[in-house]
């Protein structure tokens, strides 16, 4: 089933960043893609290529300059505020730095339970706690830690909290912007396995943004390659990785870190 469809979306920033007054920046140019239930679509590309901007557009954190975004056939850009609130439950976001997205003064169970207030308003406090405990355990955190504050957790644990929080409202899509880039290889492996388990159990679809090609190759069904705001290649992950068509994709693959010292090329 088609969940999410972006049709020819573009984003022009007017000012801010390194832009001079009156300058414009075409950050995303005519991007289209579809996301089906339960699948993982990865967006790869170098820094500044527009990946995060696509994520923000999909979440409607910013408005598209052109184009439409459809949720199960309905145009998101014309939704009423009420419909939009409903819609926001279906699609949740996980950030690279989960610390920044957790309120430092809230116990983590409160942060994780936040979405339930609207999504499941009929639950009482005890029932909410129970649901949070269940979700934390599912994400590999002991429920006994739920009274703690964010700073008392490691980076990997905070990322688990971020995932638990996003999953609380039973979304159909998770938008993950560089969710493992800040983590050790060992913690990264734990989180990637967790994401795979959750997808198998709950059927959530992932829009997965990353610049780490070995991670993408491992997790993605399909891949979208972005370069300077444009999609330059799209296809099944296996095909894109084994037989890249666009020069930029080929360059990106060639830039992958080597796996063994014997692959070193001498530079001097």
């Amino acid at each position: 089933m088609m969940l999410l469809e972006a049709k020819h979306i573009s984003k022009i920033f007017q000012s801010g960043g390194l832009l001079e007054k009156g300058q414009e920046k075409l950050a995303v140019n005519d991007v289209s893609f579809q996301l089906k239930a339960g699948e993982t679509l990865a967006i790869v590309g170098e820094s500044g290529s527009g990946k995060s901007t696509v994520a923000r557009l999909v979440m409607r954190l910013i408005e598209a300059s052109y184009g439409e975004i459809f949720w199960q056939g309905q145009d998101v850009t014309t939704m009423s505020p009420r419909q939009l609130r409903q819609h926001r439950h279906h699609i949740q976001m996980v950030f690279q730095d989960p610390f920044a997205s957790l309120n430092p003064r809230m116990r983590i169970w409160e942060s994780v339970a936040e979405g339930l207030r609207v999504h499941a308003a009929e639950l009482n406090n005890a029932q909410r706690r129970e649901k949070v405990a269940e979700m934390l355990e599912r994400c590999g955190l002991s429920a006994s830690t739920m009274q703690r504050y964010p700073h008392q957790f490691s980076g990997g644990q905070r990322q688990r909290i971020g995932i638990a929080r996003a999953l609380m409202v039973e979304p159909k899509v998770l938008v993950l912007d560089e969710p493992v880039s800040a983590l050790d290889v060992s913690v990264q492996a734990q989180i990637l396995n967790l994401l795979a388990d959750i997808q198998a159990q709950m059927g959530v679809a992932y829009l997965f943004i990353s610049h780490d090609l070995s991670v993408v190759r491992h997790i993605a069904d399909r891949v979208l390659v972005m370069f300077q705001g444009n999609v330059v290649e799209e296809g099944l992950a296996a095909a894109v990785f084994s037989n890249p068509q666009h020069t930029y994709t080929q360059e990106l693959l060639a830039a992958r870190p080597i796996a063994h010292p014997s692959e070193r090329k001498d530079v001097v």
Binding site: G17, S47, S154, S181, V185, V187, H218, L252, P261, V268
Partner: protein, 322 residues
């Protein structure tokens, strides 16, 4: 020559001093690149920072051992001598680029000041010099960039500015703490090529702190693996890649996504690194080690418990991998 000898560091607080790094020894000769590898929280940054005595400002005390820079103990150095070493002879590239750049000064004023101070160049020459090094790290708009303030730059750009700044001072040694972790692959490749080129041309000694085995494969001659404050394995880069001996090293290498076939779950190391003060009595890795026996948990394991030439592992049940 840079030598760390039996170094132990403690985190001082009002109540207690807790050992955070224990008995670390390593030698970096001119022209050699030594990798310091391990999960976060293992003591890599503390060890690296102690070379320039930077821990002192954060309540980190040396409790044992020494660090020798060309035979001279850094702990006995005068302030003047230490400033000279910090300023140019040994350059440091930090893990957190934002903390290393002062937000209230432009990139230009920070870069030009140190260049003029350490290389004695005129204002005009210093600017040319800075722009050249910014160009080398892939920041083409050098002139424009010098006018910017740190928070106008993306994380990747800040990191590159710091690398350019370190390189522009013509150091003898470089200590780089996770220099490419925040960068995407294309920039990473460029930075690695630049670091290797400068390192080889100028015969720099280098301590490279990282958890990225790709970077180790690209850059390092020797590798020291740390776990929970201790060295657990050391050897040549080929020893570590082809015959990892310690179960921790083996597990860490096995976590990489490229190590499994499509559709398979990744190998993980269950649990986490224990914090200083919570290390087990015997082998620090024993609570997470699949091979742990009673003997492992009884008493500390020596670094030379397993030895093969220069290749050592702190483990009493080494099983080499094919």
């Amino acid at each position: 020559m840079l030598e760390i000898k039996g170094l132990s560091l403690a985190i001082e607080s009002k109540e207690a001093a807790i050992i955070a790094v224990q008995d670390v020894s390593l030698t970096i000769a001119a022209g050699r690149v030594v990798g310091l590898v391990g999960e976060s929280g293992c003591g890599k940054t503390l060890t690296a920072q102690s070379i320039l005595r930077l821990g002192e400002y954060q309540g980190i005390e040396r409790v044992h051992g020494d660090i020798l820079w060309h035979g001279e103990s850094v702990f006995d150095m005068s302030d003047t001598r230490l400033r000279k070493m910090r300023g140019g002879q040994v350059a440091m590239i930090f893990q957190e680029p934002m903390t290393a750049l002062n937000p209230v000064f432009s990139i230009g004023s920070q870069m030009l000041e140190v260049i003029r101070l350490h290389l004695g160049l005129s204002k005009v020459k210093a600017k040319e010099h800075a722009i050249q090094y910014l160009n080398d790290v892939g920041l083409d708009e050098g002139e424009q960039l010098l006018k910017q303030y740190p928070d106008a730059l993306s994380g990747g750009m800040r990191q590159r500015v710091l690398i350019a700044m370190a390189m522009s001072l013509h150091p003898e040694y470089i200590i780089a703490d996770e220099p490419t972790t925040a960068l995407d692959v294309s920039v990473q490749k460029r930075i690695i090529a630049l670091l290797r080129k400068l390192q080889q041309e100028k015969n720099l000694g280098m301590l490279l702190v990282t958890h990225d085995f790709g970077l180790v494969a690209e850059m390092c001659d020797d590798v020291v693996v740390m776990y929970a404050g201790e060295m657990v394995e050391s050897g040549s880069v080929l020893d570590i890649f082809d015959h990892p001996a310690h179960p921790y090293t083996q597990a860490l290498m096995g976590c990489r996504p490229e190590m499994v076939k499509d559709g398979e779950a990744l190998t993980v190391i269950e649990g986490q690194v224990p914090a200083p003060g919570q290390w087990p009595k015997g082998c620090h890795f024993s609570p997470r080690c699949a091979r742990a026996s009673d003997a492992c948990q009884e008493s500390p394991i020596a670094m030379d418990a397993w030895q093969h030439g220069e290749h050592q592992a702190r483990c009493i049940h080494v099983q080499e991998q094919a």
